[in-house]
Symmetry: D2
């Protein structure tokens, strides 16, 4: 299993045109450059179709944005852990607010990912759901109040109690899982606040993807994570 | 909120023709008779369409088999907590293996049920999922390995370690939630085993619904629950 | 099979609190009164939990708002055609914009409804989808541009070409299916326009349910349908 | 829009390990070789993650196995038409029995594919569903009785009336759409029968993917399609 060093910046490319196809590779290369310059772990999560070219172009960890709960076989239009792994991904996001999953499906995929030595980051919308998914023992949890996603209003400022309450509830259930902060993160200040509140990284999307200057935007976000 | 006294026998009528329509009322009356004779709590969960006539006919607690995560309003073909409550239900089963739910949906419905003072029984297929749903603080959890449902092979005999492991994991997350055993339960011996393994009741369906003599079948199941 | 005489007013109660529980029975009785006074067919579609009490209280046709594609058996939290029929429904709405269905599921349920001599009204959002579902031979199609549902802006005024185009495309595929107009219908004028455009009735929800005076609202809608 | 010359052999790679990753490229190359040697159109449909490397390696048309009904934007874990097109796909399969879709979703994706000049092949399980999807005007329909998929029992032999009835119903709705035969096709004889029954090609998966000798298997299938 690839070893993830924390803190971590996880960039979700979503299906944005700004981070699709050739642009996915370019964005991943900028992320790699910042990671090399700062020593901070940056993970990129491009679309399924872009995993292979991105993984070939960069050495930083590549994640899928989702996988389906099926094993290789007669499944048309599904995405297996094996397929994203063979394309070069070392892990996957699961249960993003735009792709919610059944609780038994998260359990199944997290268990299979562990067998395949792949890393899982499970998103959650509330402290209670965070505690619930913590019981399934993924590697990371990302707490993201969905009403703040894409707004530029950082959860760390608008709803800090959501993060502290998440950290508190999750710790009682699972002391090992890493907790990321998501939703509305666009600046280094937001990241610094997320770290102060007890989480070890952030999950971002539009804050980076839609930035005019990717290098500047990513550098600003990782600065508070430098030792 | 209706007070549920434990141990408890929860009978899921499913969509079986043997427990539909007029037969749903008859089965509920037999359950009520056994409950009165033995003092053991018996909950019946008929189909949505049968909740009103069943709730009118009996005084034992009536549950829905599922509700949708929507509030009253513009939702065609959905089932709200308010609708099943107004029809006479005091609680609901959630996340049955035949009707699995997203983890955020379980969180949402359990929270709303609590506000409405309704009782929730959330099903789970593994010890890990049981621990996960325990973090959402429903009133009861029913651990049911799906491969045993409807088989007549009691989980308490075939996989006792699933139950003990569930009890163990759930207790670390939530000391208050009540745990039921489900899947393959057909006899009083199965119930006695379920109680010995640390659970406070059973969830049954075909074992009662398809029995030739409902009274005998239910009486056999509740005997080990009598004080 | 119950014979439906056209034109028809189909009232979808949705999950509105104004048309739930005891209020569902009251609304159905008002609809029945108008139907008797005018001779116009009025169908009521209450929530699943209200079908039995409504069907017992009135003699006009009662529909379900949706059914699941399963037969009686081990299906927890599902709604079968048999269950709604036994509760007193003579038909069902399918594929409402708030409860869209897979094309193979519509095919399956329409076929089973025909075997059970139950009436089906399949909703569609575009002329092309209307033509598609017409090929599955339901009894009625309701064309409802979803962007107008609940707005009070009648499709017959805002987008008459959607209706005429639907009538045109559907007729080439299936000359027998009855076509209803839905979305934004609140007045008799809207109904008159819907009839002029070649449809034989309307599907309404909020226009009736949220009216202050149900009798007046329904009477206004059916007047243009009187011979 | 890429021009597809008929008859056509469409090979669905599904999520089989035999046709994943590096093996996907190898299988596509064999298909290309047969296509060049025989002049018969062969389309390959690898997994999402394999579209880019396959499309780079071969000149025959590449399809996706499915796309989601979303446009580029904030959609995590979704697959857009634009993404598969940018990866090199010229079309997509839709509504395969392992990935059924809502009727309004098929309508939406087929319309958007047309705008993007991409080719669509919509699967259907019955003659009625075939007629329904024909009304949505995709480029091709593949009739596949699901109970025969993967069995090696060719629909053209086991249920020829399903194909003739499909051709008949589809033609009344849409004279232009091309019809393929699917399910259980493994030999040239099966293909010849499919052509005789009025369809212009076949959709295969395991019959090719699991063959010991891909070249031989594909050559056998396309022979009856040679002019």
């Amino acid at each position: 299993m690839v070893e993830i060093r924390y803190p971590v910046l996880l960039i979700n490319f979503k299906a944005y045109s700004q981070s699709s196809g050739r642009r996915a590779v370019e964005l991943a290369k900028v992320a790699e450059r910042v990671s090399k310059e700062t020593g901070v772990t940056i993970i990129v999560a491009p679309q399924f179709t872009d995993i292979a070219p991105v993984a070939e172009a960069v050495e930083i960890p590549v994640f899928a944005q989702h996988v389906d709960p099926v094993t290789p076989g007669a499944h048309t239009g599904h995405v297996t852990l094996e397929a994203v792994r063979d394309a070069g991904a070392v892990g996957t996001i699961l249960n993003h607010s735009e792709r919610r999953l059944r609780v038994d499906v998260i359990d199944e995929v997290v268990k299979r990912a562990r067998e395949l030595k792949m890393v899982t980051t499970v998103c959650a919308n509330t402290p209670e759901v965070s505690a619930a998914v913590a019981a399934l023992r993924p590697d990371m949890i990302a707490i993201e109040p969905p009403e703040l996603i894409g707004t530029g209003i950082p959860v760390s400022k608008a709803k800090p109690e959501v993060i502290t309450s998440t950290v508190d509830l999750v710790r009682r259930v699972n002391p090992d899982v890493k907790i990321l902060t998501g939703a509305g993160i666009t600046t280094g200040d937001d990241v610094a606040a997320a770290l102060r509140l007890g989480t070890v990284g952030v999950l971002v999307a539009s804050g980076v993807v839609k930035a005019k200057d990717w290098y500047k935007a990513i550098m600003d976000l990782v600065k508070p994570m430098m030792k």
